[in-house]
Symmetry: C2
Subunit: 490 residues, 2 copies
C-alpha cells in the first residue's frame, strides 16, 4: 500500500536539515549530512563485500559512532541488521549467528576472542578492517517499505533458546511517533544514549534522532559522573535509563539539581523501586516511568507528565496508537486485579525469526502476551509487578520479587537488591534476598529482615539474606538477571 | 494489517488526558473528557436516526462547537462525513448531496434557504433539531482502521463538476504526525482555528487536537482584531492562515508585536506575495509557508524553522514521510525549471468518490499530479508559481498571475490584487489586473502600471487595471477565486 512507503529516512533527514547535529561523542560531532555521507560509504563497503537487499548482517559493536554508520548503511542497501549483545559468550554468539543465517559479521576488535566458535559460513570483518575496506557502488534505496524487517534482536527467555525478535521499519517509526506524542518534541531536544545500541532502548534513540532531526549524545560506558556532566553542561534534554542507573546518577548528583532544560529521564527495564521514585520527585527529576520490551520496539506504555506525581510508581497508560489490557485465564481482569499484561499496536513485532511456534504462542489476534504480570488501577494506570517467570509461589500465594526488593532498597545502606525463589519442601518456594551495600556502608542481616517484617506480610519476608560484594548480575542494559541469582542457589 | 489498526482516537485521548482542554470558544471551554461525552451523545442521536457504519452523512455547519461533536460522533459509529462548504449555492449543495449518496444532512439553521432543491432522498435535520434529538444506543467503535474513509470533501476544478476527495483515517493521522515532526510539539500548544472546519485546513487542526492532546481556539468568523486579541491574551501558539488573512492581521497589529509564545503562523492557500513575507520577517512573525491541498489532507510541504529567513518565499520541502518532484512532459525537471508539482506519501488521498476517471488521471503509481506549477531551487526548496489552470500564456510565454499580484501588492495603498488572462487576438492571452485599495487609500491606474513596468518584463505588465470596491471574490478559505474574476471579463 502507498501509505506503507516512506522516503529513505536518513537521506530525507539530511535533505531537510543537513546542518543540524546528528551525533555527539566525546571525540567530535557529526551533522546529518555527514552522517548520511558516512552511511553511504558504509553501504558502498557492504556492497563490495557482496551484501544485498534482504541479506542478514550481524553487528557486534558497542556504543561507538561506527554502529550508526553501519546501521544506516544496512538500511540504505535493505539488509537486515542482526544486533548481537556484546556481553554474550562465544557459545551464544555462535548460536545466534547460525540461527539468524547471517552472511556477514562486523565486530569490534575487542570482541575477537568471542568468535572462536563462530560458524565458518559467516564471513567476519573486524571494525578496523571495515573502516579500511574498499568501497563498491551500492544500490542505495530511495524508499523504505514499513512492512520490511529492519532489525533482528534476540531475547533470552528463562528456558530454551533465545528468540530473534523481528522489528520492521514500521515498528521503529511508530515507536518514535508514539513517544513524541507523549513527551512532546522541541527544536533543542538532545537525547543521551548510554543504554546499548544493540538493545531496543538505545536503538530507539538512534531512530528517533533521524525522525526528529535531533542529536544523540552517545556514551560508550555508563559512568554516573560523566553522564551528569553531560546533562549539566551539554544541554542534554532526555536520557533513557534503568533504575540501577538512575540510583547511581542520583547518588552522584548529591545536593546538585539538574538544569531546567533536562526534561525527561525515561525509565524502563522493569518495575522501579518506589523509594527511588520518591527521591527523584523530591529532587525535581522528571522521571517518566515506562513499560516495554524488545517485542514492542521499546516503550509501549509511559506515564505522562500530568500524572507523574499523582501516579508515582505506575508505568502509565499505553501510548496513543497502542492498547493494553490485563488477562488471566483468557479473561480480562477488573481494576486492581493482577494478571498477564497483553498489548496491541503498530509497535508490536510481527514475530520471531524462524520460530512460528513461539510467535503463535505469544501473538494471538494481533495481541502480544508479554509474560509480564501487572494490574491496572481504578483509573486504568498500569502497575507492573514482575516477570511471570520471576514470580515466586509460596504456599499458594503469589510473591513479586520487585516488591520485596523495593522495601530492601529503601534502606539507605543498600545499593542493590535481588530476590528469587528457593525450593522449599513445605511451601514449594520461599523468597531469598541478595544484597550489595554502598561502598563504606554497613548493615546486618537482622536489620534488613526486621525492615521487611515491618513492611511486608509474613510470607513475603525472605528466609535469608546473602551479601554480595561485587554487585548483582546484570545484563548489558543493567537489568537485574534473577535467572543468574537462582543459579547461585543450585 | 495490525499496524493499520488504532484505538478510537478521541476515546484514547480522553483516557490519556481527560482534564486537558480540548476546545475553547468565546462562550466556554470543553475538556477532552467532555468532548468525548458530547460525541457519544451525538453518536447515540445519529444511531437513533438510523445512521450505521459506512453510511454517508452530510454536514453543513460553520465553525461551531457542534461541528466537533458531530464529526467525532460520526467517527464513533464509522459513518463517513461529507463536509459541505457553507458558501455553496443551493444548486451546488443539491448536486453534492446527490453525488455523495448521503443518507442524512445535518445543517445549521442559518443555511435553511440553501436546501430548497435538496434531493428528497436525503433526510434533513437542522442543528436545533439535532441538539434536541432523542438518543439511541450507538455501537461505539473501539478501533479504527487507517484504511477506512473518514471524510469526503468536494473540490471544484475550473471546469466540470466538483470531485469528492476521499480522505482516510490514515490520511488525517499522517498529516498530523508529519506536521509535528516539522513544527515540534509542546505541552502548552494551542492552535487557533479560523479557517473553515469543512476544509482540510480547519479539519486538520481539529484532528491534531485529538492526536496531540492540544486545545483548539475556535473562531467562527475571521475578524483580525479578535484573532489578534486571542493570540495576545489567550496563549495561542499556532494559527493557520491564507495570505489575505495574514495581511489583515498585520495591518491590525500595527506597531504591536506578538508575544514570544506565538510560534507558528502556518501559511497556506497558494503562493504568498513576497512583500507580505518581508513585513512579517521584519516584525518577527514566525510564518511557515506551506503547500498543500484537499488531496493531501492539507500541508505536504512546509518551510522549516531554520530556513524561514534564508528561503523566504519558498514553501520548503516535502515533510518527512512525503516526496515531491517537478515534472514536465513526463520528465523530472532540473533545478530552477518550472513544471507540474507531483507528490507522494501517506497523506495523499486514495482517490475521488465514484470518479475513477479523475482518480486515474490524477494519481499515477501513487504519485499525485497536483495541477500546480512550481520549481525547486538548487537546494531543493519548492517555489509554487501558480495553479496550472490560472497560467496565462501570452505570445508563447508563461505568465504566473501570482508574480504580478505580488508586485502590485507591494504598493502600500493596495489591499488585494488578482490577475487573470484576457483573450487577445494578437498574443492569445494578455494579463489584466483587478485591485482593491485599503479603505481611505488612493492610487491611480498609471501608478500601478508604472510600478509593474519597473519590476516586470514587458509581456507581464497588465494591459489594464480594474478597481473593485467590495474586494475580490474569495472562497470560504479566503483563497482568491480567479475563475470568478475571469467571468467578469466575459
Amino acid at each position: 500500500m502507498a501509505s506503507d512507503i516512506m522516503p529513505n529516512w536518513l537521506i530525507k533527514r539530511a535533505d531537510l536539515s543537513p546542518e543540524r547535529v546528528a551525533l555527539i561523542t566525546e571525540e567530535a560531532t557529526w551533522t546529518f549530512n555527514e552522517l548520511h555521507k558516512l552511511s553511504v560509504s558504509a553501504a558502498n563497503k557492504l556492497s563490495a563485500l557482496g551484501v544485498k537487499h534482504g541479506d542478514h548482517v550481524a553487528v557486534l559493536i558497542g556504543n561507538r559512532k561506527e554502529f550508526l554508520f553501519l546501521l544506516h548503511g544496512l538500511e540504505y542497501i535493505g539488509a537486515v541488521a542482526v544486533l548481537l549483545n556484546t556481553k554474550l559468550t562465544s557459545h551464544e554468539i555462535s548460536w545466534q549467528l547460525e540461527n539468524s543465517e547471517s552472511r556477514l559479521l562486523v565486530f569490534d576488535d575487542v570482541f575477537l576472542e568471542k568468535l572462536e566458535n563462530a560458524p565458518k559460513a559467516v564471513k567476519q570483518l573486524s571494525l578496523a578492517e571495515f573502516i579500511n575496506a574498499e568501497e563498491g557502488k551500492a544500490t542505495i534505496r530511495f524508499e523504505y517499505d514499513l512492512n520490511e524487517v529492519h532489525t533482528i534482536i534476540y531475547t533470552s527467555g528463562t528456558t530454551g533458546n533465545p528468540k530473534g525478535v523481528m522489528l520492521s521499519y514500521g515498528n521503529h517509526w511508530w515507536n518514535a511517533v508514539s513517544s513524541s506524542l507523549n513527551l512532546g518534541l522541541h527544536m533543542d531536544d538532545c537525547w543521551l544514549c548510554v543504554t546499548p545500541l544493540f538493545h531496543v532502548s538505545g536503538l530507539s534513540i538512534l531512530m528517533k534522532s533521524v525522525f526528529y532531526g535531533m542529536p544523540i549524545y552517545l556514551v560508550e560506558k555508563f559512568d554516573p559522573a560523566k553522564v551528569n556532566m553531560a546533562i549539566e553542561n551539554y544541554h542534554v534534554t532526555h536520557i533513557s535509563v534503568v533504575s540501577q542507573m538512575l540510583v547511581r546518577l542520583v547518588a552522584d548528583l548529591g545536593e546538585r539539581v539538574y538544569p531546567k532544560s533536562f526534561r525527561c529521564a525515561l525509565l524502563g527495564g522493569g518495575p522501579a523501586p518506589k523509594p527511588l521514585l520518591e527521591i527523584c520527585k523530591e529532587k525535581g527529576i522528571p522521571v517518566y516511568q515506562s513499560y516495554g520490551m524488545t517485542e514492542t520496539s521499546s516503550q509501549i506504555a509511559t506515564l505522562s507528565t500530568e500524572y507523574m506525581l499523582s501516579k508515582l510508581g505506575s508505568a502509565g497508560k499505553s501510548l496513543f496508537p497502542a492498547q493494553l489490557r490485563i488477562e488471566k485465564d483468557g479473561k480480562e481482569q477488573s481494576a486492581n486485579e493482577a494478571g498477564e499484561i497483553v498489548v496491541k499496536g503498530p509497535v508490536v513485532t510481527k514475530g520471531y525469526w524462524k520460530n512460528e511456534e513461539a510467535t503463535e504462542k505469544s501473538i494471538v489476534n494481533a495481541w502480544l502476551y508479554t509474560g509480564d504480570i501487572g494490574y491496572l488501577d481504578e483509573d486504568g494506570f498500569l502497575y507492573v509487578l514482575d516477570r511471570r517467570n520471576d514470580l515466586i509461589i509460596s504456599g499458594g500465594e503469589n510473591i513479586y520479587p520487585a516488591e520485596i526488593e523495593a522495601v530492601i532498597l529503601s534502606h539507605s545502606a543498600i545499593e542493590e537488591a535481588g530476590v528469587v525463589g528457593q525450593s522449599d519442601e513445605k511451601w514449594g518456594q520461599v523468597p531469598i534476598a541478595f544484597v550489595k551495600t554502598w561502598d563504606g556502608e554497613m548493615v546486618t542481616k537482622e536489620e534488613i529482615l526486621s525492615l521487611c517484617k515491618e513492611r511486608l506480610a509474613k510470607y513475603k519476608v525472605p528466609v535469608d539474606v546473602i551479601f554480595v560484594e561485587d554487585g548483582l548480575p546484570r545484563n548489558a542494559s543493567n537489568k537485574l538477571m534473577r535467572k543468574e541469582l537462582r543459579k547461585l542457589l543450585d
